[in-house]
């Protein structure tokens, strides 16, 4: 039986670690390679890096970070942020990332999902989705809409429709981020997660809102997520990954308990 995965998320800007709260007011908290090494030692099952740099110079710095991470940790990790072309994908995979995640790039050009799946295999292509709760309408029957640019721009895409569309296009996994829950530390968006996780056949990583260990238990059991993305709950030392796993195992969740 597969273990539910606990995945710390590291936001990187200009080669340095930041932690965004509601995508605003980021403050630098250190070196991403060192943070990855720490979480690897704590029993992280995977690590997600988001490159929030916009410039091409920043992108080169990120490739260097990816290379150094690949020489330091020996678990899968993914890289996302600003991925728009197959060449962007190729660079991070060649630098040693197991997976690459596309978000706005896939909304603007859905064919990149298929292109990536053909070139690198579906297992390497993660669709990142930023979702906001909206009024139910003919266009957005689920009441959950895909947003881009950190939640500032609505796309008119229904989140349930987009999840299945991405699966059909060849995405191997979905990283589902609730813009409403992100940064609140009040818990994952359980209803959204449950609806997406039971709507597609590919694994779903829940993201946004983890502030207490109970939140992870809820999202991995009630909401049926395959993995939980975490940030502040470990970045600020509230819990180690080991503590979270011990709690989850006590709650009946199968997690990787030795590493």
């Amino acid at each position: 039986m597969l273990s539910k995965r606990i995945i710390p998320c590291l936001d990187v800007r200009g080669g340095k670690l930041t932690k965004g709260v509601r995508f605003k007011g980021n403050v630098d908290i250190g070196d991403p390679v060192e943070a990855a090494r720490q979480y690897y030692g704590q029993g992280a099952d995977e690590i997600v890096f988001y490159d929030i740099t916009a410039s091409s110079e920043g992108r080169d710095i990120m490739i260097d970070v990816v290379n150094r991470v690949a020489e330091t940790i020996f678990i899968p990790f993914s890289v996302g942020g600003g991925i728009r072309t197959l060449e962007d994908m190729r660079r991070v995979i060649l630098a040693g990332a197991e997976k690459v995640s596309v978000n706005s790039g896939a909304v603007e050009n859905p064919r990149i999902i298929t292109g990536g799946a053909v070139a690198f295999g579906s297992q390497s292509v993660v669709l990142g989705m930023d979702v906001k709760k909206v009024e139910t309408s003919a266009r957005i029957p689920s009441g959950y809409e895909i947003v881009i640019q950190g939640g500032r721009k609505h796309t008119g895409l229904d989140a349930l429709w987009w999840a299945r569309e991405a699966e059909n296009l060849g995405a191997g996994e979905i990283c589902l981020n609730s813009i409403d829950a992100d940064g609140t530390l009040e818990g994952y968006e359980l209803e959204l997660t449950h609806r997406i996780a039971t709507h597609v056949k590919i694994p779903v990583i829940a993201s946004g809102g983890a502030g207490k260990k109970e939140h992870l238990l809820d999202v991995l059991t009630k909401a049926k997520a395959d993995a939980a993305l975490i940030a502040s709950i470990v970045h600020y030392g509230t819990h180690t990954i080991g503590e979270l796993k011990e709690f989850l195992a006590g709650g009946g969740v199968k997690v990787r308990e030795v590493w």
């Binding site: 039986m1 597969l2 273990s3 995965r5 690897y40 099952d45 690949a70 020489e71 020996f74 678990i75 899968p76 060649l94 040693g96 197991e98 295999g121 579906s122 297992q123 191997g172 996994e173 056949k201 590919i202 694994p203 049926k224 395959d226 993995a227 990787r256 308990e257 030795v258 590493w259």
Partner: protein
């Protein structure tokens, strides 16, 4: 020196990185003479069986792998590298493979369930590997160790004696096989943290005999 066979099938770099981290000398290569010279061979791979077998035949590497197996040189298969050592794979219609170990490679049934929930294919993530035999390559790995898997097809050896480890995912399947100087694992030791590194390190010291 370990030769990591590079036949344009993925994870060669991550295997080489893991070996470098362990200070084990290695070379990623597609040249027959490198494979003949090497003391040990790792045969990795991700992707599809049909394409992999085409590459192996076109480059002549298929013959080199068989030769290495017959020579008694320690050989480690990983993921797709493990699948193509069987007689055939159900992937890409039916792909004839190297036939070093009797048996085939089958697709996970589409209707697997566990605890009422449908299981997702591919089998991707961390899962427990129950070692069935004492083997130098698996020395020091705890009984509850987990390893990282990514695959939609699973090894089904014809002989129970070749099964070295089993894993459960809706069904119980052979996640490692061992025969003589060959060990082959379905999971990715290069992405399985400390225990995966331990397995690679064990292999780097193994002389190819299976007596303890």
């Amino acid at each position: 020196m370990i030769a990591v066979v590079d036949y344009r099938a993925g994870n060669v770099t991550s295997v080489a990185r893991a070996l470098r981290h362990l200070n084990v000398p290695c070379v990623a290569t597609d040249r027959a003479e490198d494979l003949r010279r090497a003391g040990r061979i790792i045969f990795p791979g991700v992707g599809a069986a049909g394409e992999a077998m085409r590459n192996l035949r076109e480059t002549g590497l298929a013959g080199c792998i068989r030769e290495a197996f017959e020579s008694g040189k320690p050989l480690l298969g990983i993921c797709l590298g493990t699948q193509v050592i069987f007689e055939y794979s159900e992937e890409d219609g039916r792909t004839e493979c190297l036939g070093l170990i009797p048996g085939g490679v089958r697709r996970f049934p589409g209707d697997l369930r566990e605890g009422g929930d449908p299981l997702k294919i591919p089998h991707m993530g961390w899962n427990r590997v129950s070692f069935q035999v004492a083997h130098p390559v698996f020395a020091g790995l705890p009984a509850n160790a987990e390893f990282y898997f990514v695959h939609a097809y699973y090894p089904a050896p014809a002989n129970e004696a070749d099964v070295a480890a089993e894993t459960e995912y809706g069904i119980r399947f052979a996640s490692a096989v061992a025969r003589g100087n060959l060990v082959a694992v379905q999971f990715h030791p290069e992405k399985s943290g400390r225990f995966g590194l331990r397995l690679l390190e064990n292999f780097s010291r193994w002389d190819g005999s299976h007596a303890q």
